[in-house]
Symmetry: C2
């Protein structure tokens, strides 16, 4: 490959993204070369084609995609770039799989500071490197001012499922234990703290993290895990409802068993939110036979991303599709789906 040449240098300090950067011409080629390829640096991306080509072994593959529209782009504990990498790796991992490759598609609003774009791309590159998963192909589009909102990113991931692992949302069985890997609501409240100027409240930091190493450790000791899912949009409550419907089972959880940070609980109270409906980006729900639950719990707690793990309830044969909760006050109530939109653009 020879240099593209002749284009003016890109001013990453003070420049703004303009429509030329998405036009398919020299400006776009230059931005891709100097920013994206430089940051994500890997041989597959350097192939320089509109697709990446790599060998795969025989086996089961998973594919997942997610659009990220979070506002603001930067929040305590991360940004849209690291979030996109973590979120997509997590959706791969929730099949018990290990990620193989990611793609990234950028829809940029004209006028976005190039410094912001670079900050996001570098963060994304770091998150991918930390996770050991290459970003192998991408795409960049620019829309006119007022037709977007700074930056949207869609990441897609593929991964491999280890032999013998069969994890799916329809596999929950009556009698199974329900575990979560840690505190609920951290991500959503970290984003809200930035939006609502709750900067005075300390301890509100997103839990955004890649869970594939945690999942690898879990699958190694408890290959009989029935269900994994990350409680993102809609939080724990909506995700359990999804799973109850998908598996055709009931669920009974105990409020007192669900870990919530004091800072998160306080911020939720201030804003009138229920932490069970607030998004997480570094937590998972695991459902598995009760007799393996204690073993899994100790594995979770031994991992940096599972230190606050807890068994929060069980799957029931009664009331299929319904999630119920024994409250701290001794009552029992239905935990419904999130009905409306509690926290728009949280991911």
């Amino acid at each position: 490959m020879i240099p593209i040449g002749k284009g003016p240098a890109i001013d990453f300090e003070h420049g703004l993204v303009d429509l030329n950067h998405g036009g398919g011409g020299r400006a776009m080629a230059q931005l891709i070369e100097e920013l994206f390829i430089a940051a994500f640096d890997n041989p597959l991306l350097r192939q320089g084609n509109d697709q990446a080509c790599f060998p795969v072994a025989e086996g089961r593959m998973v594919m997942t995609t997610d659009g990220y529209v979070i506002s603001p782009l930067f929040f305590p504990g991360g940004d849209i770039g690291s979030l996109a990498v973590h979120g997509t790796i997590n959706d791969v991992a929730m099949a018990g799989a290990q990620p193989v490759a990611l793609s990234a598609s950028y829809i940029i609003e004209e006028g976005l500071p190039l410094a912001d774009l670079r900050r996001v791309v570098l963060s994304m590159a770091q998150a991918a490197r930390d996770a050991g998963v290459p970003i192998v192909t991408g795409d960049t589009k620019v829309v006119e001012r007022g037709k977007g909102d700074g930056l949207f990113i869609t990441t897609t991931g593929i991964g491999r499922v280890p032999p013998g692992v069969v994890i799916s949302g329809d596999q929950a069985q009556p009698g199974d234990a329900i575990l979560i890997s840690g505190t609920m609501g951290d991500h959503g409240m970290a984003v809200m703290s930035r939006r609502e100027n709750l900067g005075f409240m300390t301890g509100l930091v997103s839990d955004s993290a890649a869970l594939h190493t945690l999942v690898a450790a879990m699958v190694a000791v408890a290959p009989g895990i029935h269900v994994l899912r990350d409680p993102t949009r809609g939080g724990l409550a909506s995700t359990l409802n999804e799973l109850a419907v998908q598996s055709g089972v009931g669920m009974l959880i105990r409020e007192a068993a669900i870990p919530v940070r004091d800072s998160v609980a306080g911020a939720c109270e201030l804003l009138g939110l229920d932490p069970l409906y607030v998004a997480n980006e570094g937590k998972l729900i695991a459902i598995l036979p009760m007799e393996q639950a204690e073993t899994l719990l100790s594995v979770l707690r031994a991992h940096p991303l599972g230190q606050d793990a807890a068994i929060i309830g069980r799957v029931t044969a009664e009331d299929p599709g319904l999630v119920q909760m024994d409250t701290k006050f001794g009552g029992r109530r239905i935990v419904d789906w999130l009905a409306g939109e509690q926290l728009p653009r949280i991911c």
Copy 2:
């Protein structure tokens, strides 16, 4: 899986997308079930997880992603949905590969008529069915009014490369022939005709089409093809420049050999555009040893998507990175990259 139940029916005739449809709660689950899963209907999507799981054989895989921000959403010859399917299949096929699966991520502006969303999704489903490629997983986000532009779609595709096929943008060799599969500029001018109210000009129809069956036929007769690429954004001119840089070669093409429809040429003249810089969405460039060029040309012309195929020039050792053209008037000029943004949001 049991029904989600209890949500009000979605009014696909008169309703509008609202933030609830992206909130992770019941409204989103209902939209996904009643629109996306119903339309794309396939067993992988029906797994109902955040990722699709499927077996793969040993071999080489390709992965590609593209964001679609085309405006308007509907244009003569297609819409953003069919375009997204075709475009991503084509990026898979340009490695000589056959598509295996697609993912689709939707970023919807609040207020988009549900009827428009449904029309796009049904068109996408039809395009995927026609191509024989399933849409196996997806994601839906909704942004506030004024923070998007109706609908953006990012599709990602994976595919398999047949053994022995090595097609890449860096493989062009001096002496190779340069072919194109048909007329240039149809897609871009079809979109412009809608934007600029050139409805009075007949014959401006997008060439949007999935090229994987054409590529399969090509690879079968000419396994020695060096390069395939679809001249989308930036058109033939920018794409040839990309390839000249990537392969470190020069290129010499003949203007008289490049087929352009009269209607496209006329509309270009009216708008002051050069058809060589106008996007195509159902055409490809092929570069291969000169001695196989005539064979490939006849295969192209025998396929419905290659009837106007032509040999338009050759690869040279001189002037690496430079594309030159012998004009209709007997001169020779440099065909440069698209410098600015000629036609924003054409795909």
